[in-house]
C-alpha cells in the first residue's frame, strides 16, 4: 500500500517537523507519520520561541536551512532581543507566538515541501532485521518500509498526566499516550528512563486586571529570527504582562504539598531543574518572598492566557485558590489546570553524534525522547537527525557540528557524552566558545555547511556571502580610514571619551567601549552617507568583529588547538575492552559510549587524562 520510503519520521512535534523537512529537502522520500494531523507542531507548553541560548539555536537552525526561524517569524506576536545591555554573546532573540498560527504555518510549510508524505496514525513499533531498522508498524497493523526511521515521540511514550492525586494516561492533555515503542526498544537492548515536566494553568484573559501588572512591550525596533528576507519584522506587537506571587500565594500552595505527586513520591521521573514548577520554587528557595509571573497571550485574537512561571501539578483547587491571590488574578477564571507529565526517554549516551542509535543501524532518536526539554532543543536535534538519516541513506558522509561550530554541536556532544539525569536544556554557560557562537553570526558559521549538504538554498547562501563580503569590505575601510584630531575631538569629547593626538583609524576608535558604529554616523555627514550603503546587520557585524577582535582571536586559537585532537577519529569497532591499561571505569564508559573522535572521548566523565594518553598511543596518533 505504501512505497518504500527513504526516511520515516515518527511524530510531528518540533523535532519531527524539522527532521521531515530537512530529509525531504535533501532529496529523500519522507513519510511523516503522526497520531493526529491536526496537532502537527503543537506547542505543548509556552507559546514562545527562543530566549537565552535557545534563541541562538533557532538562528542556527535557520542558518542551516531549517524552518523553525521562519515559522516563528510568521507566527510571532511580539519580538524581544533579551540581554541587549550585555555583550553580543548574550544577545538572545525571543518571540511570543500565536499558538494556532505556529502550528498552521508548520503544517502548510510541510505540505508545500515536495517529498514529504503524511500518514495519520500511531506508530506502535519499528521493524528491525539483522540489526538494521526496516520501517515501522502502526496501530492498525500496517507495516511501512523505509531505509531509515527517526523517532521523535516527545512526551508521549507511556505518558502519565498528574494533577494532585489524580493520574491518567496521556501524551499531552486531551491526547492519548503512545504504547509499544518503549517495550520493544527495551527488548532490543535499549536502556529507558523516566522523566517529567509540567505546564501551568491557562486562564481567561477577560478575567484579569492588567492595571495591577507591569506591561512588557515588545522591542521598539523589533527584529526577527530568519536570515532570509522572506519574513518581515512586526509592525504591531502584543504586550505581555508581569506580576508576582507573594507569601499568601506560597502559603496556599503549601496546603497542597501533601497531595502533590512530586512530593509524595508518585512521580518517579526527574523534572527540569531550570524550568521548575512553582511548588519546586517555593520549596527550594524558601527564602524568596515572591516569584515573577509572565502573563502571556496565546495569540493575536484568543483570550487564552499562558501563566508563565506557574507550572504546577498541585490539586486543581489549590492551583485555583493560589492563582487568585496573585495581583491582577483576583477574579481569574481557569480554562484548564496545570499538570505534570511523566514519560519514557532513552539516555542519549546510546547514540552516535549523528543521533543514530548504536544498537540499531539507521534508527535515529531526536527531541524530548533523548532526555531534553524545550522546543528549540528538540527542533535542532530533529534537524540533525533528519540530515543524517538522509545522508546515510544516500551513502554520504555524516554531518557533525563541533562544539565550536554551534550551540547545536554543544547540545549533541553533551547529550551523547555526558548523558543527562534531568531534562536537559541549553544555557550559554554550557558553551565554552560562546563568544564565537553568537546569534548575529549563525549564518556566517553555518550557512555554507547547510548549503554543501543541499539543505540551505542558493538564496540563503548568497545572502550570507553578501553579508560576509560587505562586512569584510567595511572593516577594511574602517581600518584604512583615519580621522584627524581636528575632525573628531569635539565629537569624542561629547561622547565622553578621550581625545586623540594624532591621525587615528576609525577601527581603533570603534574598539573603545564608549563608541558604537551608530555614534560614528553623527560625526560626519559624509561618513554617515558612506555607512548608509550598509544594512543594519552588516554594520552590527563589523562593529562586533572590530570591538571584540582580540577575544575572538583568542577563542579561535583555542578552537584550533583543540580541534587537532578533537577531529581525530576513532574506528567504529575499536576494541576498548582489549586495552587493559585503561582504567576500569574509563574502559567501561568508552565501550558504552563509543566516542567517534578523541575530542569526544576526552569529555566523557570517567575517562581520565591518563586514559586519554593511553588511547592516543593505541590509536597511533
Amino acid at each position: 500500500m505504501f512505497q518504500k520510503y527513504d526516511v520515516i519520521v515518527v511524530g510531528a512535534g518540533h523535532a519531527g517537523c524539522e527532521a521531515a523537512h530537512a530529509a525531504a529537502k535533501m532529496g529523500s522520500k519522507v513519510l511523516l507519520c503522526t497520531m493526529n494531523m491536526n496537532t502537527i507542531a503543537q506547542m505543548s507548553c509556552n507559546p514562545a520561541m527562543g530566549g537565552v541560548a535557545k534563541g541562538q539555536i533557532v538562528r542556527e537552525i535557520d542558518a542551516l536551512g531549517g524552518m523553525s526561524g521562519i515559522i516563528s517569524d510568521r507566527s510571532m506576536i511580539q519580538f524581544r532581543m533579551l540581554n541587549r545591555s550585555k555583550g553580543p554573546a548574550m544577545w538572545s532573540p525571543r518571540t511570543q507566538n500565536d499558538r494556532m498560527r505556529f502550528a498552521e504555518e508548520w503544517r502548510m510549510a510541510l505540505e508545500q515541501t515536495p517529498n514529504v508524505d503524511f500518514w495519520q496514525e500511531m506508530v506502535t513499533g519499528i521493524l528491525v532485521k539483522d540489526g538494521k531498522v526496516r520501517g515501522v508498524r502502526t496501530g492498525i497493523g500496517i507495516e511501512i518500509e523505509s531505509e531509515a526511521v527517526v523517532l521523535t515521540n516527545g512526551t508521549f511514550l507511556n505518558g502519565i498526566i498528574h494533577i494532585g492525586e489524580k493520574q491518567f494516561g496521556g501524551g499531552r492533555t486531551g491526547e492519548a499516550a503512545a504504547k509499544g515503542i518503549t517495550e520493544q526498544l527495551v527488548q532490543l537492548g535499549f536502556e529507558a528512563g523516566r522523566m517529567k515536566t509540567g505546564t501551568p494553568p491557562r486562564v481567561d484573559g477577560r478575567s484579569l486586571d492588567y492595571s495591577k501588572m507591569e506591561e512588557q512591550l515588545g522591542d521598539e525596533n523589533p527584529e526577527k529570527f530568519s536570515y532570509l528576507d522572506i519574513t518581515q519584522p512586526l509592525q504591531n506587537q502584543k504586550s505581555c504582562w508581569i506580576t508576582y506571587t507573594n507569601k499568601e500565594v506560597h502559603q496556599t500552595l503549601e496546603t497542597g504539598f501533601d497531595r502533590s505527586p512530586m512530593f509524595n513520591g508518585r512521580i518517579q521521573g526527574l523534572g527540569p531543574r531550570y524550568c521548575p514548577s512553582i511548588e519546586d520554587k517555593i520549596n527550594r528557595f524558601a527564602e524568596r518572598e515572591r516569584h515573577q509571573i509572565f502573563v502571556e497571550p496565546e495569540g493575536w485574537n484568543t483570550v487564552e492566557i499562558y501563566v508563565n512561571g506557574f507550572s504546577t501539578s498541585l490539586p486543581e483547587d489549590v492551583q485555583y485558590k493560589a492563582l487568585r491571590q496573585i495581583p491582577g488574578f483576583e477574579n481569574a477564571k481557569m480554562f484548564r489546570p496545570g499538570y505534570a507529565i511523566e514519560y519514557d526517554f532513552f539516555p542519549p549516551t546510546q547514540l552516535h553524534l549523528t543521533l543514530e542509535t548504536q544498537l540499531v543501524e539507521n534508527l535515529y532518536f531526536a527531541g524530548q525522547i533523548n532526555g531534553t526539554t524545550g522546543y528549540e532543543e528538540a527542533a535542532s536535534q530533529g534537524l540533525i537527525a533528519g540530515i543524517n538519516a538522509s545522508l546515510k541513506v544516500q551513502e554520504k558522509d555524516p554531518f557533525l557540528l563541533q562544539r565550536s561550530d554551534a550551540y547545536i554541536g554543544v547540545l549533541i556532544d553533551d547529550l551523547i557524552n555526558k548523558g543527562t539525569e534531568e531534562p536537559y536544556r541549553m544555557f550559554t554557560s554550557r558553551a565554552e566558545f560562546r563568544l564565537l557562537l553568537r546569534q548575529d553570526n549563525a549564518d556566517l558559521r553555518l550557512t555554507e555547511k547547510g548549503y554543501q549538504i543541499g539543505l540551505a538554498e542558493e538564496e540563503r547562501m548568497q545572502a550570507m556571502q553578501d553579508k560576509k563580503s560587505k562586512t569584510a569590505h567595511l572593516i577594511n575601510d574602517l581600518k584604512q580610514k583615519k580621522w584627524t584630531p581636528e575632525e573628531i575631538n569635539p565629537s569624542l569629547e561629547a561622547l565622553g571619551t578621550a581625545t586623540i593626538q594624532e591621525k587615528t583609524t576609525i577601527e581603533k576608535l570603534l574598539k573603545r567601549p564608549q563608541i558604537g558604529i551608530q555614534d560614528l554616523k553623527a560625526i560626519h555627514s559624509e561618513f554617515d552617507q558612506y555607512l548608509s550603503k550598509y544594512s543594519k546587520e552588516v554594520l552590527e557585524q563589523a562593529e562586533i568583529q572590530i570591538k571584540y577582535e582580540s577575544y575572538l582571536e583568542k577563542e579561535q586559537q583555542m578552537v584550533q588547538k583543540l580541534s587537532n585532537m578533537e577531529n581525530f577519529r576513532i574506528p567504529h569497532k575499536f576494541d576498548y575492552l582489549a586495552i587493559t591499561a585503561l582504567s576500569a571505569e574509563g574502559r567501561q564508559k568508552l565501550n558504552k559510549i563509543r566516542p567517534e573522535t578523541l575530542g569526544q572521548a576526552s569529555r566523557i566523565s570517567g575517562v581520565s587524562p591518563a586514559d586519554l594518553s593511553i588511547l592516543t598511543v593505541y590509536l597511533g596518533k
Copy 2:
C-alpha cells in the same frame, strides 16, 4: 472553585457551540466544558455546510440569531445555491469550508461572547438530585454546579472506530471516547441505543490528476448564509472536482467485504441510509455501474482533500487499491484511511419538544446524541436546547417551533414523536409546508421570534423589518401600476409570452412563468430606475410572493386549520393510563412520549384518529 452556572454545556461540537452561544446571549452564565479546546467546532467529516434542506436550516439558525451561518460565511471557500433551476422551495445554499478556519472562527466567536466560560476536561457524569440535574462531574473529579445541563456528546459516547477487522476506542480519529455518561443515564432509567456513521479517506491533493475530472466551480454570483451584512460573499472561490467510481473499483471493494465490519456483524449500530458508505452503495445498488465522487479541498491552502462519496470502513489496503482505480486517483496518496464509528445515542422520544429530558428536569440533549446526523441538524438542536435551558432557568415560557415555522420545528417534532431507528437527517420531503419554509424567508419567519427571546439583536430585527416593509411596498406598487398594451406588448413578444389587450398590472404579468422581475427592468428605463431602489433580496422576495401567491395562501390556510388543534396544550402531568377508552397501544405511547400538544399527539405512530377524538373530549376541547 467554580461559581454556580446557569447552564453547563458538555461538548463543543456544532450543537454545543450553538447551545453555549445562545444561552449566554440570552443572559445565562454558561460554562462550556469540552475535552479539548483545540478541537472546538471541529468538522468531524466533510468540510461543508448546508445543501438540500440543510442549507435552509442554517438560514433558520441565522435568522434566530445563532452563529452557524456567520461562521460558515467567514470560513467558506466556495458557495453554491443548489437546485436553482427548480422552484424556490428547493433552493438550497451550500458552502465548502476551510476546516481550520471554521473551527477557529467558532472559537473566536465564543471567546468574544460575554457570559461564556470554558473548561477543558472530559465530563464523566451529571449530578442529579430529586429528579433534577444539578451540574456535572469531570474526569479529575471536580463537581461543577449549575441549574441546567445540555449534553452534546456527538459520536463520543463509548465510541468505537472500525477499519476492516480492526477496532479501537475513540470519539473521532485520534481522539478519546467519552466514558461514564451512558452508564449513568441508563441507571437513571434512560434507554440507550447504538448507531454508526462513517467517513472517507483523506488524500494528498498533490497526488491527484485533475485533468481527468470535471471541475465544479462556485456560483458566478455567490451569495452567503447570513442575513446580516457583517459577512460578505466571496470574491474568489476554490473549485471542487467530480469523478466517478467504475466496475473495477467496485470489484476491488468487494474483495474486502468478508473483512468489512458492516457485513460481518461486528458493527451493531444502524448507519445513515442516506449517507451510505461506498460498500453500502455498491451492495444496495448493484445495478449501478458508477457512483459520483466529489473531490473537495479542505481549505484555502492545505493540500488535504476530502473524498466525498467514498465513505468506507473496509480494510485500509482495499480502500487504497480501490481508490487508485478511480480516474484521477491513479497515483493518489492517502493521509488517513476512512473508518466507521459506532457510538451511543438516546432515542429522542425520551425528550420534551424543548429538548429537555422527560426523566431528569433541566437536563437537555442536543445533536448526534439524539440519533441525528449532520452538522446542521446538530447545530439547530443545540440552538433550541440552549435557548430553552436559558428560558427555563429564567423561569420563562419555553420556545417551541411548529412544523410550519421552520425545518427546525419539523426536525424536533419528528425526533420527539417518531423517534428514529437510523441516523436522522433532514430532507425537504420531511416538511409538509416546504413552500413556506424557504431559504429566502427564514428571516421573515423567525427573526422576530429570535428577537423576542433576546437572542437576535436589534440590528437583525431591523434588517428583517426593513426587508419586510420594502417587500410589501414593492408588491403594493406592482399591484397598482398598470402597463398598456402599447407600452408592453413588444417586450412580451420578445419574451415569448402572450400579448395583452388591456391595461394590466405588473403583478399580473409577474405571475406568468416566462416573466421574472429582472425581465421587467429591460422594459422601461423609468421602471428599471424605480426597481434599482430595492435590494436583490427584496426583489426576489416580492417576485416569489407574487408568483406563488395562491400556493402560499393554500399552505397558509392548511397551517391555520391544523394549528387550532396543534396548539392545544396537554397538561404536563396528564394521566393517560387512567383513560381506559384509549387503545392499549395509544395509551402506552402517549404515556411514554407525553406530547405537549394535541398536534404532537396526532403525529405519534400508534395513536389512532379514534384515540385522538377521545383525548380531545377528555381535554374538554
